[in-house]
C-alpha cells in the first residue's frame, strides 16, 4: 500500500487498494472457501448414511418369561430385562465407562464390569467407578400382541417402569 502512494504510476485516487492486492485477496478468499467446503464435504463423506448394523428395536418375548424380582441378560441384544414389583426395566449391558459388556452377579446382587471393575445396582444405578454414569434405561413397551418390545435408540428416565 505504501508503495502505491510513493509511486505516481500506480497512484490510485479512489481507493488505496491496488488491483493486484484486490485480486490476491479475492483469490485467497476463494481458496479459503473452497478449502473449508472441501473439508466439510470430506467429513460428510466419512459419515456413513446407511449402516448394516442390527436393528435397535427388538422383541423380548412374553412378559411371563421373566419372574418378579429377576435380572435376565439378553446376550444377543446386550440388554438386561429387569422385573421388579414396580414393573419392567430394560437396562443397557454396555458399560458406560469404555463399552465393555457387564455381567450380572446374582450372588452379589450387582452388575459388574469385567474390564475395569465398575459396579452397578440391578436397576443400572452406579455403585462404584471408574464409570461416571449409571447404565441407561431403554424404552420398553408392550406390542399389540402382548410381547415386550425394547427400543435401544430411546433412553428413558430410570424411574419409569412398564407395568404389565
Amino acid at each position: 500500500m505504501s508503495d502505491d502512494k510513493t509511486n505516481p504510476a500506480q497512484a490510485n485516487t479512489d481507493s488505496d487498494v491496488s488491483r493486484r492486492d484486490f485480486l490476491n485477496e479475492i483469490t485467497l478468499g476463494a481458496l479459503g472457501v473452497a478449502g473449508l467446503g472441501g473439508a466439510a464435504l470430506t467429513c460428510q463423506f466419512f459419515s456413513p448414511k446407511v449402516l448394516f448394523e442390527p436393528s435397535a428395536t427388538f422383541r423380548a418375548g412374553n412378559p411371563d418369561l421373566y419372574p418378579v424380582n429377576s435380572v435376565t441378560f439378553l446376550q444377543d441384544q446386550l440388554v438386561y430385562i429387569v422385573r421388579t414389583e414396580a414393573g419392567f426395566y430394560a437396562v443397557s449391558a454396555v458399560c458406560t465407562h469404555l463399552g465393555c459388556i457387564t455381567q450380572w452377579k446374582p450372588e452379589a446382587n450387582m452388575i459388574v464390569c469385567p474390564c475395569h471393575g465398575s459396579k452397578f445396582e440391578p436397576n443400572g444405578k452406579k455403585i462404584g467407578g471408574p464409570a461416571t454414569n449409571s447404565q441407561p434405561h431403554y424404552a420398553i413397551n408392550l406390542t399389540a400382541d402382548g410381547e415386550l418390545e425394547v427400543d435401544k435408540q430411546q433412553i428413558i428416565k430410570a424411574d419409569k417402569a412398564l407395568k404389565v
Binding site: C43, F46, S47, P48, L51, F52, E53, L98, G99, C115
Partner: protein
Amino acid sequence: MGASFHTALESLRTTRVWKSVLRRGPAVTSRTRSLAVSGNLLLHWIPVKVREKSLRVRATYYLGSLSLMLFIILVVTGVLLMFYYHPTAPKAYYDMKDLRFVVSNGVLVRNLHRVAAHLMVLVVFCHMFHVFYRGGYRPPHEFNWVIGVILLFLTLSLSYTGYLLPWDQLAFWAITVGTNIISAAPVIGNKVRFMVLGGHVVGENTLLRFYILHVVILPLLACLFIGVHIWRVQKDGGLTVASKDDDEQN
C-alpha cells in the same frame, strides 16, 4: 588383480555413461567427494562431514537407526502380509490363521511384523528418552524434536490401527475400549468416534478404515516425516553431541 580392478574402475569412471548418470568424474579430492555425496538423491540425506565425536560408539548410539531399520522391516513384511490378507469381516480372522498355519513361512513373516512392531514402539521411546536426557531438543535441534514427537504419534497410530487387523476378540475389545476414549472428548467426541468407526460399533467399516490408515495413509506420512527428520539431522549440524562437549566449549 587388485590393481587391475582399480584401473578398470578408474576407466569406468571416465566413461560417458558414468558421467551422464553421476555428472562428475572420479571423486578423488575432498571437494569432489563432498559433491558426490551432496549431488546424489539417496546420499544427500547423509552429512557430507560428520564430527568424529558424534560417531563414537555408545550403548544408546544406534536407537534412531534401529527405529529406521525396524520401520523398513515392517514395510517389507507388511507388504508381504498384504498378499494374503483381505480386510473384510468374514475373511480377516481366517487369513490371519492361514498366515500362521497354512502359508509357507507365513508364521515367520507375521511374527517378524508383530515383534518388529512391538520393538519399534519400545525403541522409539528409548530414542526419545535418550534425546531428551542428553538435551537433544535444544537449539539447533528443536524443530527436529518436534518432528520426532510427530513420528512418535505416527508410530503409536500405526501400532493401534494394526491392532484391529487380526480381527479376534482382543482386537475387537481393544478398539471398542480405545475408541470409547475418543467419545469422552467434549461436544465432538461421539461424532469423531462415529467417523473413525464408520458406525456405532466396531464393524466391517471400521476394519476397512483401520486397514487403509494402517497400510496407506499413516505409512506415507511416516515416510515423509522420517525423510524430513533424517535430512534435518544433517542440516542441524550432524548428530547430537553430548552436552558435556558443549559445556567445554562455553
